[in-house]
């Protein structure tokens, strides 16, 4: 089953597609609350955001991530191509492993971040927020590679939370408990292939489950059957937003502007400016943006990516950040009240040299009570590390339930 059948000459009349899980997701979606994600509609929320959030943190949650952009890269030069494309050493991502990375334009500005799945020797899947085919084809000049956009050919569910491993065991995935973080394993489920990666966007124990679209509903049914007594719930993008901020994960278009979409100079960010310097391997052979990044490393960055712990409980959405002398220091890009950490958190882009751990700053927060707007200058602290980081995220085998 192809989700988008381009041979159908009327395909363009479809404004947005339903994912292969839609039939089941719709049955759960009590609020009929859908949002647009790239070519698809997916649930913003099914019941209410808090219920969904706590399913992910205390039990297990299912998020339909089919619309995520996926490209398959293969061919004789696949590894060289990947290494020239992204900032990290791809040769260290062995077959059956996943690596998080960013890729940059010539000026060393981040185009997008994503994960590289080394599916089998020399065959990679690049998962990203934004469609990348144009940049991948540009990067392919001079390389013998095949690049296929397989976004619509692979259905995916993010299955996240402390009981996930137990549920997958119940589902019959033998040995799943031995899968280490960023590992990939393949299973036979009712005669079709299920690919499981121990990856996610919640900063917790969790897996991502990948199948051909025609097996999507079977996967959903088997998963919910196995998870019935382990608190399984579908969750929408609103809950995921809180989960990923707690985990300190950035989002393209929110925490940074994808460099290929920027019009105005100075609006983009380098990996260093997004706190992702650890992904930049300047000692590997040339990659796009390397010269610019070497220069930036020598001359210093303009911005610092910071995680903020803000006093009070009013989320600092889009707040301006000031230093103690009330001078502008930056802006908040993502904010949430963290139900698990019980703190008011935010991700921010600050002007260097602000943003060192322990820096004391002020967040200008506007809030409304019964249509009355007020403003508070809330003291905040730059923190190191993420707000949610349970040991089970790293443990193999993970704790059982």
């Amino acid at each position: 089953m192809k989700i988008i059948d381009y041979s159908d000459r009327d395909h363009y009349k479809t404004q947005a597609f339903q994912t292969p899980f839609h039939e089941r997701a719709a049955a759960f979606n009590q609020k009929h609350c859908w949002g647009r994600w790239k070519d698809y509609i997916t649930a913003n929320t099914y019941y209410d955001t808090a219920t969904e959030y706590f399913a992910a943190r205390n039990a297990c949650s299912v998020f339909d991530l089919t619309p995520m952009t996926k490209h398959r890269i293969s061919g004789p030069d696949a590894l060289d191509f990947m290494n020239r494309l992204v900032t990290r050493e791809v040769g260290k991502i062995k077959p059956g492993r996943v690596g998080y990375t960013v890729w940059c334009n010539d000026a060393g500005q981040v185009i997008d971040d994503g994960t590289i799945f080394h599916l089998e020797e020399g065959v990679y899947r690049l998962c990203s927020q934004e469609p990348q085919i144009d940049w991948l084809m540009t990067s392919a000049i001079g390389f013998d590679v095949d690049i296929v956009d397989e976004t619509h050919d692979v259905a995916g569910l993010a299955f996240q939370g402390p009981t996930t491993c137990a549920v997958l065991k119940l589902m019959g995935l033998e040995g799943i408990e031995n899968l280490t973080p960023f590992g990939i394993a393949k299973f036979d489920l009712d005669g079709f292939e299920l690919t499981v990666s121990r990856t996610g966007y919640t900063g917790d124990l969790g897996y991502e489950l990948w199948v051909a679209p025609e097996h999507a509903l079977t996967l959903w049914d088997r998963l919910f059957e196995a998870g019935a007594l382990h608190g399984i719930r579908p969750i929408g993008s609103e809950a995921l937003e809180i989960l990923r901020i707690e985990a300190g994960f950035i989002l393209a278009g929110v925490d940074f502007l994808p460099a290929n979409e920027a019009v105005r100079p100075g609006r983009t960010r380098s990996p260093y400016e997004l706190g992702l310097g650890w992904l930049v391997h300047l000692d590997k052979p040339y990659f796009t943006g390397k010269r610019a990044l070497i220069k930036e490393k020598e001359n210093g960055s303009r911005y610092v990516f910071a995680k903020l712990n803000i006093e009070g409980n009013k989320p600092a959405h889009q707040s301006f950040i000031f230093d103690k002398r009330q001078k502008f220091a930056g802006t908040v890009t993502s904010a949430a009240w963290s139900p698990s950490a019980k703190v008011n958190i935010a991700l921010a882009t600050l002007e260097a040299p602000h943003g060192k751990p322990g820096d004391q700053l002020l967040a200008e927060i506007y809030y409304q009570r019964e249509l009355k707007w007020s403003r508070v200058m809330a003291p905040c602290t730059v923190v190191e590390g993420v707000f949610w980081d349970p040991p089970r995220k790293r443990e193999t085998p993970p704790p059982d339930f």
Binding site: I141, F143, T288
Partner: protein
């Protein structure tokens, strides 16, 4: 960059390609104390600025046959006259060949010929004066490193300011006219001014020679201005024929560089530039031999330099895309005829046979000639710029014999360049003006862009390496980010017709690069 007061052996330089720019660059660098080695893939030096014997005893310029922008400072600095460079003829008039011998002669700002009205003559005087003035703006930065836009650097702002000031200084009326026409097509500009079809056709040829443009293509005014920017013997807009053909320029340059201790290695094809930790450390020959250097200078065309010599793997993807999209497909072919006597052009006096003769009878004709090449075909009725250099230089042909050298457009690059079929059509066109010429032909040769690519190694066989157009000029030549001669790889420099200030035998790119490297421009 090294400082100005250096001792000899300021550094080791390897220059890839012994074209005229490479030779000029070598000479200046050797003078500045650098140890210079030139690597030339072919067994002849001079690149496209060459002469060759195409039939026993008959020699011609291999590509361009008229000198119109060889930098006079280069001639002086390198003392090319004492190294044998001399003009067989300079300040050649142009004859626009008309039907039934009704030709026009164009010299400086004067037109002679029966069919030209007084209005056209007057309009031409004004046109010529204005075009020369506008051309000086275009050529004003020829000896400078192109300024970058929005770099924030003082030197760039000064360069941009100088360019803006040179335009503003034209005065309100002329500035407006310059800005109006600089980017548009020569068809419209000529139609606004002149009545005579033959005159318009001949003038339009200046805007399309050597390019992938028709008179109705935008940029054709710009290319005409580029051509008018140079000067010969201090006279702007003049054209000359070097004694011995264009190869004589290279021969003089070779003598100059050899006197300065430069070594030229021929038959030394470079496979790639050696790059270590983002810095060019030398050039590696296809034989595997590495020629180490502190500075590597590539005179190859942009695509060869970036995509072959550096290679996409050492470059940013965006840069590779930009270079891949540089337009550098040539359309100019070259006809060489060995003749057993001076050809007789209808209505042309024998004394005029040595002039620059053009076949471009009207604007529509030129535009139609261009149509074919858009679809990969050669022109059914081509346009031509013809010289018979043996009129001025007896050494080019046996006694009493002559050579005819014609730039013929348009010939496609790539499949479809069937030179045999094209040659018949070219001869037919020629015979329309010189009816007996076919019987005089002893030997002939028609070189197409594909031949030029094979012979000189420039991808696309374009005379200017890369199309001359406003979007591939100044700070955009060959592409933004590499237009200041420095390649994205440290220690590697571009130097050829594909960079500022473009093609034509000028030597300016070579001189500019040498000054950049030796710091003389500070």
């Amino acid at each position: 960059m090294t400082d100005q007061n250096k001792a000899p052996n300021a550094g080791k330089v390897v220059i890839i390609g012994a074209g005229h720019n490479g030779l000029v660059c070598a000479a200046y660098l050797a003078k500045a104390g650098f140890e210079v080695n030139i690597l030339e893939a072919r067994h002849e030096v001079g690149g496209a600025a060459a002469s060759h014997e195409f039939a026993p005893g008959y020699r011609v310029s291999s590509t361009g046959h008229l000198l119109y922008r060889l930098d006079e400072q280069v001639i002086k600095d390198l003392d090319l006259a004492s190294h044998g460079l001399e003009m067989a003829a300079s300040d050649l008039p142009t004859v626009a060949l008309g039907s039934e011998g009704r030709h026009l002669k164009i010299h400086d700002d004067r037109i002679t010929g029966e069919d030209v009205s007084r209005e056209d003559r007057n309009a031409f005087m004004a046109y010529r004066e204005r075009m020369l003035r506008f051309a000086r703006i275009i050529s004003g930065l020829d000896d400078k490193i192109p300024p970058r836009i929005a770099s924030g650097e003082r030197a760039d702002n000064i360069g941009l300011g100088r360019l803006a000031w040179s335009i503003r200084r034209l005065g309100k009326k002329d500035m407006r006219e310059f800005l109006r026409i600089a980017g548009i097509n020569i068809y419209d500009v000529l139609e606004e001014r002149f009545e005579n079809e033959l005159l318009k056709g001949a003038l339009s040829l200046d805007g399309v020679l050597g390019t992938h443009l028709g008179p109705r293509s935008n940029n054709s005014v710009f290319t005409a201005l580029h051509r008018l920017g140079g000067s010969v013997n201090g006279k702007q807009g003049a054209v000359a024929i070097p004694r011995g053909g264009m190869g004589a320029v290279s021969e003089a340059l070779v003598k100059a560089v050899e006197a300065l201790g430069v070594s030229i290695l021929t038959g030394a094809e470079v496979g790639h530039v050696e790059i270590e930790n983002g810095k060019a450390t030398g050039a590696t020959l296809v034989t595997g031999e590495i020629m180490p250097a502190d500075y590597v200078i590539s005179c190859a065309d942009p695509k060869t330099t970036f995509l072959k010599l550096i290679g996409p793997r050492q470059l940013d993807a965006g840069m590779v895309r930009k270079v891949s999209n540089v337009r550098q497909k040539g359309n100019a072919a070259k006809l060489h005829l060995a003749l057993d006597g001076l050809p007789k052009f209808t209505g042309l006096e024998a004394a005029q046979a040595g002039h620059r003769l053009v076949v471009a009878p009207d604007l529509e004709y030129v535009e139609r000639a261009f149509n074919h090449v858009k679809y990969g075909e050669h022109s059914a009725h081509p346009v031509m710029e013809i010289t018979i250099p043996s009129v001025h230089d007896a050494s080019l042909a046996p006694e009493g014999k002559h050579v005819l050298s014609a730039i013929v457009q348009y010939a496609p690059y790539g499949p479809g360049s069937d030179s045999a079929g094209f040659e018949a059509q070219v001869m037919e066109t020629l015979a329309r003006y010189a009816p007996g010429i076919r019987e005089q032909v002893v030997a002939s040769e028609l070189l197409t862009p594909n031949h030029f690519e094979d012979r000189f190694g420039n991808i696309g066989g374009h005379w200017h390496h890369a199309e001359l157009a406003l979007d591939q000029f100044l700070m955009l030549r060959p592409v933004a980010g590499a237009a200041q001669y420095a390649a994205p790889v440290d220690g590697l420099y571009l130097c050829g017709a594909g960079c500022h200030p473009g093609g034509g035998v000028s030597g300016q790119a070579g001189r500019n690069v040498a000054q950049l490297i030796s710091g003389l421009d500070k």
